[in-house]
């Protein structure tokens, strides 16, 4: 008997002729996330992917692999020979193990037979194993509709016994859909936005804006921590850290106070676009959600959106704060996001920001500034930080 982790793909199965491209990306990513856990052997057994493990590292492997996009289900399995006695023995011990952990009154055996040469069909196997479980485990009965416990038996090159299918995030392997530039603040939303787009196969890079010394270095450390958490899902990436204090000063001195936020945001979008294009990145990603703050009204979004020409993805646009927070909790960025350091948006916050800006007005205000040289100066001074997963 060996312990293995089984991995099920989701949408990948639908990718037709491209399937192997997606699978290769996925396997590469799996190898990468478990590289520090003794380089376990990964193999395919009649279509399904397995990772060899042992009692000591299996929990760690599952924890890492569960975060890989493109995977739908992960299970901890016994791998045994295709021998009926063995299959019965380990099914019983799986049931006994499950009973020790939680209250179980009913069970069902589900068998899949990929190896059609196996002499019994799946119904017969399930029935036989179920019969033996009933005989050897007390206080338990069969319920084929809503059992407390499923015992899964997969018969492939070897046979695999398991009781739990852990849900992973699904999506598509990182890097299968090109590259996106995330505008990463220290807040709750932007890490979630990055997560959601990476889940759809985008390889991330990120840009962060600060106004040091109007903001603290601790605020930037917080952004690095958030980036680090994100990298657990989307792999290593580059974080561009840009100081926009000079730009904010210029706006502050020359433009109407109530347009401060929108004008700064337009600069942020333009800087992000410029870095993106230079690095062959094809889209921007923001954590904006409709109506959440003054600059995120439809008119506000229109004003910031028209600052750039490449697509801007806003995966949170239709979500409530509670929904966003839920995801932030699941992906473990929430606790870091709520650390109380000021981010650069709050420093120059106008008392009464415009909520229904006209693009024309904003463009007029902006026209008094030397936009290009302000942007170029900010970019020339930016810091590039490599976030390692």
């Amino acid at each position: 008997m060996d312990k293995v982790v089984s991995v099920s793909f989701g949408e990948l199965a639908l990718k037709g002729l491209n399937r192997s491209f997606f699978e290769d990306k996925l396997i590469k990513r799996i190898r990468n996330v478990i590289r520090d856990i003794g380089k376990p052997y990964i193999y395919r057994d009649q279509g399904k992917l397995y990772i060899e493990a042992n009692e000591g590292n299996i929990k760690q492997i599952i924890d890492k692999v569960k975060k890989v996009f493109g995977i739908v289900l992960v299970s901890e399995c016994y791998r045994i020979e295709k021998d009926m006695d063995e299959m019965i023995k380990y099914s019983i011990s799986e049931v006994e193990e499950a009973i020790r952990k939680r209250d179980i009154k009913t069970f069902k055996v589900e068998c899949k037979r990929a190896d059609k040469k196996f002499p019994m069909n799946s119904m017969e196997v399930a029935r036989k194993i179920g019969h033996h479980i009933l005989q050897s485990v007390d206080g338990i009965s069969v319920d084929v509709h809503k059992p407390d416990l499923f015992v899964y038996v997969d018969i492939r090159g070897k046979s695999y016994i398991y009781t739990e299918k852990l849900k992973a995030f699904g999506g598509l392997p990182v890097g299968t859909n090109g590259k996106g530039m995330l505008l990463l603040s220290g807040g709750i939303d932007s890490p979630v936005a990055g997560f959601m787009m990476a889940k759809r196969g985008l390889r991330l890079s990120a840009v962060h804006y600060h106004s040091y010394p109007f903001t603290s270095e601790r605020a930037e450390e917080k952004v690095k921590s958030l980036a680090k958490i994100l990298s657990n899902y989307c792999g290593s990436f580059k974080l561009y850290s840009v100081n926009i204090l000079k730009i904010q000063k210029a706006i502050n001195e020359n433009c109407p106070e109530d347009e401060m936020t929108l004008l700064s945001r337009r600069f942020m979008m333009k800087i992000a676009e410029k870095i993106a294009i230079k690095n062959d990145v094809d889209a921007l990603i923001t954590g904006e959600s409709m109506g959440q703050v003054a600059s995120q009204t439809i008119k506000g979004l229109n004003v910031t959106n028209s600052a750039v020409n490449i697509p801007v993805f806003r995966p949170l646009i239709g979500m409530d704060k509670t929904e966003i927070t839920e995801i932030a909790n699941v992906i473990d960025t929430f606790e870091t996001s709520i650390l109380p350091y000021e981010d650069c948006c709050t420093v120059f916050l106008p008392k009464h920001p415009v909520t229904r800006p006209k693009l024309e007005d904003i463009e007029n205000s902006e026209s008094v500034l030397d936009v290009d040289s302000l942007i170029n100066e900010a970019i020339s001074e930016m810091e590039i930080i490599r976030i390692e997963d």
Binding site: P213, F214, T215, S216, K249, E253, P340, E342, T346
Partner: protein
């Protein structure tokens, strides 16, 4: 140039302290409780440190106990006193401007059914003595007051408090938090009539992770930590020998230089306050520059700036200070300093407050440099925030 003016937060250990600690870590690493020679070697070093500290405070050696921090000292003292005398009554007194390691103990006992009076501060930054007098009853068992306030450096009138207690209720036990006071102003335990007095190593160029507690002879303070009965049972746990010995060394050096260092620091503070007043517009000095205040603390408001922003401007120039209060733009009341509020500062003055805290090796050259950078930073910030 690097100028460290945050000596109320912590100080740099003196070289001699680090050497002593190094010796304790590398050579005299024995457990003082061990019966062999290596244990005795460590025990002797601890004894010497205890002697030095006792001498410095004019206390008896058996009145000095080592703990892990000023916070732990405050906890052992206040909790111990309450546990010991809780049968006599259920009324406790402290002030609104105490350090969290004091005030949060009182908040805890409040949930356990004790009544707590939190004394107000008058416009001079001193606890309201009239309120104190009125609040003392026969149910009052413990009072805790700090000797030197950490934000503006004002010295609290412990002797007046002694007099009030003598008049109103002699049984009340008094804990004095001396963490910002020791080594900065003269402390002779016989000048006062307190029962316990806490202090800390890292505020006087000793190491972090070591605190001390004076417990008046005869006071039978029950422990709050149980174990192998080190420190006469008051603070169990294997002694932090490098910390204790480093602390002792710091006190020995301090004792030799105390008067001189105290005067130098006061001169420096006067020099600094003068230069700021002359060189920078719209400032307000919030600390006394005389003996009503500890000599090492100078709190200043720079109007139309934000303390935290100014702090980061200074840090860019290698100058390290603290903000006067943790007031943030989003939440005006949350982090607002009670002391600065109590002494009548406006919100604007509180927002622009910076605490400079000096020590013996700061120089006038450093001060000149700091004032120059301060002026440039304040001008720059005002240009941005005032439109």
């Amino acid at each position: 140039m690097e100028v460290y003016l945050d000596n109320s937060a912590t100080t740099k250990p003196r070289d001699e302290v680090v050497e002593e600690m190094n010796y304790m870590l590398k050579e005299a690493y024995g457990n003082p409780s061990s019966l062999h020679r290596k244990g005795l070697q460590a025990e002797k070093k601890i004894k010497k440190s205890r002697e030095s500290i006792a001498k410095f405070l004019n206390a008896r050696e058996d009145e000095i106990f080592f703990t892990s921090s000023g916070t732990e000292s405050n906890n052992i003292a206040i909790q111990g006193l309450i546990n010991r005398y809780g049968k006599r009554g259920n009324h406790l007194i402290t002030s609104k401007i105490e350090h969290p390691s004091v005030i949060n103990i009182f908040k805890h006992y409040e949930t356990k059914g004790f009544d707590v009076t939190y004394l107000d501060i008058d416009e001079k930054g001193v606890v309201d003595l009239k309120q104190l007098e009125e609040s003392i009853t026969d149910k009052t068992i413990v009072i805790a007051i700090m000797l030197v306030n950490n934000e503006i450096g004002v010295i609290q009138p412990i002797k007046d408090i002694n007099n009030i207690l003598a008049k109103k209720n002699k049984n009340v036990k008094l804990h004095v938090d001396g963490i910002q006071a020791m080594g900065k102003i003269s402390v002779n335990v016989n000048d006062y009539d307190f029962d316990t007095f806490s202090f800390s190593g890292h505020k006087i160029h000793g190491p972090k992770g070591i605190g001390g507690l004076y417990v008046k002879k005869g006071l039978n303070l029950p422990p709050i930590i149980f174990g192998g009965n080190q420190e006469t049972g008051l603070r169990s746990g294997t002694e932090n020998t490098p910390g204790i010995v480093g602390f002792g060394k710091a006190v020995e050096i301090l004792e030799e230089n105390f008067q001189k260092e105290k005067n130098d620091v006061l001169d420096l503070k006067k020099y600094f306050a003068n230069k700021i007043m002359k060189g920078i517009d719209d400032v307000k000095i919030n600390s006394y520059v005389d003996d009503r205040c500890a000599p090492h603390i100078l709190n200043v408001s720079f109007l139309d700036t934000r303390g935290e922003v100014l702090l980061h401007y200074l840090e860019q120039n290698g100058i390290y200070v603290s903000t006067g209060s943790a007031c943030s733009s989003n939440n005006k009341s949350k982090g607002k300093s009670r002391v600065l509020d109590a002494i009548g500062l406006s919100d604007k003055e509180i927002e622009g407050a910076i605490r400079f805290s000096f020590t013996y090796n700061n120089t006038k050259d450093e001060i000149d440099y700091v004032v120059k950078k301060l002026k440039a930073s304040v001008d720059e910030i005002r240009k941005i925030t005032m439109r």
